[in-house]
């Protein structure tokens, strides 16, 4: 919330964040502007603060619920501040199911999925962008066409396939597909590769490098922002995946956090306080990720909407 409105147009700037930091540190920056400008700045700030509070209120509701007793959650009208701040809810939540194990499981799957997605998609996209070959456009169209198939249609056939491979109740169905690329990520990275001048690739070729080497040495470093986007989105996807682990894992020791959270949701009633405490813990890495890689998140969204 410590941003000035000037920060908002940093999205449009191509310059890096450092220059914005500099402008803010400079006290003379506002002086030569009129009072009117000052007033607008304050008004802007005020409106943004209200907007920020509104947006953060559901999150606060989660925090508040997670600290209440169930009796207080059920009280009517609902209370905004918890009567007693029951931090012990978090401990009870963690102990209600083997959450430590679930965290390790989720991390294992997520790490593999991120590695798989980054490597495979970048490699495939490089091929589509920079290597001329016969039927490339048709092949690319087919890849894109796979985006049109809704996941639910392929659910059962895919399950049957993995069952035939004897992969049920293992992590293979959850991360191996990541090593074979996904249409959206390929598309995203291909668009990015297109912006790299072909001359650069050709120069490297003349120097004697093969495509694999060029991809690794030139392609990967130059597409870092797009790769970060792919990594973040696949982290999010794998971390929040519910249906995949649910379908393919039978052994409760292999369960992930998202399945673990479901123990608080019964057929008739829900233990909201524990569910919210658990959800907050599970949400934490995603929030941290967002804070640290905010730039890439926004770039990713720009890439997405720009691509479409």
């Amino acid at each position: 919330m410590d941003k000035t409105p000037e920060d908002n147009d940093y999205l449009d700037r191509t310059s890096d964040l450092k220059s914005i930091g500099k402008t803010n540190e400079n006290p003379s920056f506002l002086e030569h502007r009129g009072n009117r400008k000052n007033f607008l700045t304050i008004l802007n700030f005020f409106l943004l603060a209200i907007g920020g509070l509104l947006i953060i209120s559901p999150l606060w509701w989660m925090v508040s619920t997670s600290l209440k007793t169930m009796a207080e959650v059920m009280s009517f009208p609902p209370s905004f501040w918890p009567e007693n701040w029951l931090f012990s809810n978090y401990i009870r939540t963690w102990e209600a199911a083997p959450f430590t194990r679930y965290t390790i499981n989720t991390l294992t799957i997520t790490t593999l999925v991120v590695i798989g997605n980054v490597l495979s998609n970048s490699f495939i996209a490089y091929g589509f962008a920079k290597i001329p070959f016969k039927g490339k456009n048709i092949l690319f169209a087919i890849v894109l066409a796979t985006m049109m198939i809704p996941g639910f249609v392929t659910l059962i056939p895919q399950y049957v396939l993995f069952a035939k491979l004897n992969w049920i109740n293992t992590y293979y169905p959850l991360f191996v597909p990541a090593f074979f690329g996904s249409a959206f990520n390929i598309f995203l990275l291909r668009q990015f590769y297109m912006t790299i001048p072909t001359e650069l690739i050709e120069a490297a070729k003349i120097e004697g490098a093969n495509h694999f080497y060029i991809w690794w040495k030139i392609g990967l470093p130059l597409t870092k922002p797009a790769i970060a986007t792919v990594a973040i989105f696949s982290f999010n996807g794998a971390w929040n995946d519910f249906l995949g682990p649910l379908l393919y894992l039978n052994d409760e020791n292999l369960y992930t956090l998202q399945i673990g959270l479901q123990v608080f949701k019964g057929q008739l009633s829900t233990q909201w306080n524990y569910l919210m405490a658990g959800s907050l813990i599970v949400l934490l890495p995603v929030i941290l990720l967002f804070f640290f890689f905010q730039k890439y998140f926004i770039q990713g969204i720009n890439l997405q909407s720009g691509g479409k």
């Binding site: 059920m74 009280s75 294992t108 049957v160 069952a163 293992t170 249906l243 649910l246 039978n250 052994d251």
Partner: protein
Amino acid sequence: MKKTHSFILVLTALVLFLSGCAGFQTSNNSNSTNNNENNNTEENSEGKTVIDFWTFWGSEIRRPIIEKIIADFNESQDEIEVKHTFLPFGDIWTKELASIAAGDPPDVVINDINATALRGQKKQAMNLSQFLEQDDISNRFYPELWDATLYEGDSYGIPFNTDTRVLFYNKDAFEEAGLDPEQPPTTWAELEEYAAKLDKKSGNDYERIGFYPLWGIGYDVWLLNANGQNYFDKENNVQIDTAKNEEVLNWLKTWKDRYGDKVVNSYQAQIDSQQGHPFFSGDLAMIAQAPTFYTQIRDYAEDLNFGVVELPEYEEGNGHTSWGGGFVAEIPEGSKNAEEAWEFIKYLTDVEAQTYWAVQNFDNVANVEAAEAASQSSEFTEDGSMVYQKAVENMEQTLLTPIPVVAPDFSSLINPNVDQFFLGSMTAKEALEKSQKDVENLIKKNQ
């Protein structure tokens, strides 16, 4: 170039290591990895047959209860061991379906009773006649429940638990409004009259609402209550577009008009969210609910002075018909341990396990003898006993609404029309006529 190669080596090593971890965990923790090629039945180290039992009972309350029942069974057995797996409610059946399609389902699954015939027809659940011929246990259960498990005369699931709908009312509010707390409403007319007396307004706001029929239960329960039967008769004739149904819908609408959309919606949101319940705080004087609603009163509003009674009847002599659902234990088609699964299901639905489940969970069970034993249980408090006995009594007038195999998902055809009616863009007659036609078409298509 050297660097690239070493990179690939490291990467391969990493992937192998991590996937090794995944594989290792699997083989270490269970031997349930399926073997489609060699149809070995699973055995544990003691040579017992392991059967996979899937439920959605994972909460702090329910899990220990079902696991105690399983432990008791395992102890009583030297040939079978039941392994319990918790899966989230709702999604459990998606997973069951996928595993049946892949030919490697679990051995026992808890599933919705009302769609049992459909699963029988679609060959998802196993025909249990082969076992029932040996030992017929059908007379353990309420006939209404047993009938719901039949498809073409054969049973495809054994009833486990059930429920009903009753009216909870606030005795203190009754007294305050000058009503006799021991004389709750018995007819729809009385319900209206009492609700009006129980309403308490200050200015334009309600301090207390007497009753609203669609909080807690759906319009279809009221239709069932008035008609004393479901939409379908034995020959699958549809009876939706009737004068009585039209009258019932219009009656329900009068309540909505009386309290106004704003009040109805804000309370509805509160009740649906399961956070904060106006009945607990005395802001709502009466509500129709399943008997298990009592456990929430017990836990979140212990001082509430309440009573419980059967649903009021349409008019005197019409009958207090109520609605119920429930769950069955079924053996999915393709289970490799069906005989052992049957042994376990027999135990699960027998008096001992059912009584334990009923008392510990405060849940209606399918086994009649167990239900009656539970209602005499000394473990309940006075209030608990009162509600449980009413629940068991009410089973006699409780109907299930099994989904006809020729009309799968029929309610998704009726609901939008009824919604239109409540929103005011259709008359009751139009909504019912359209529903009647849509459902008839569905049946024609499936016959």
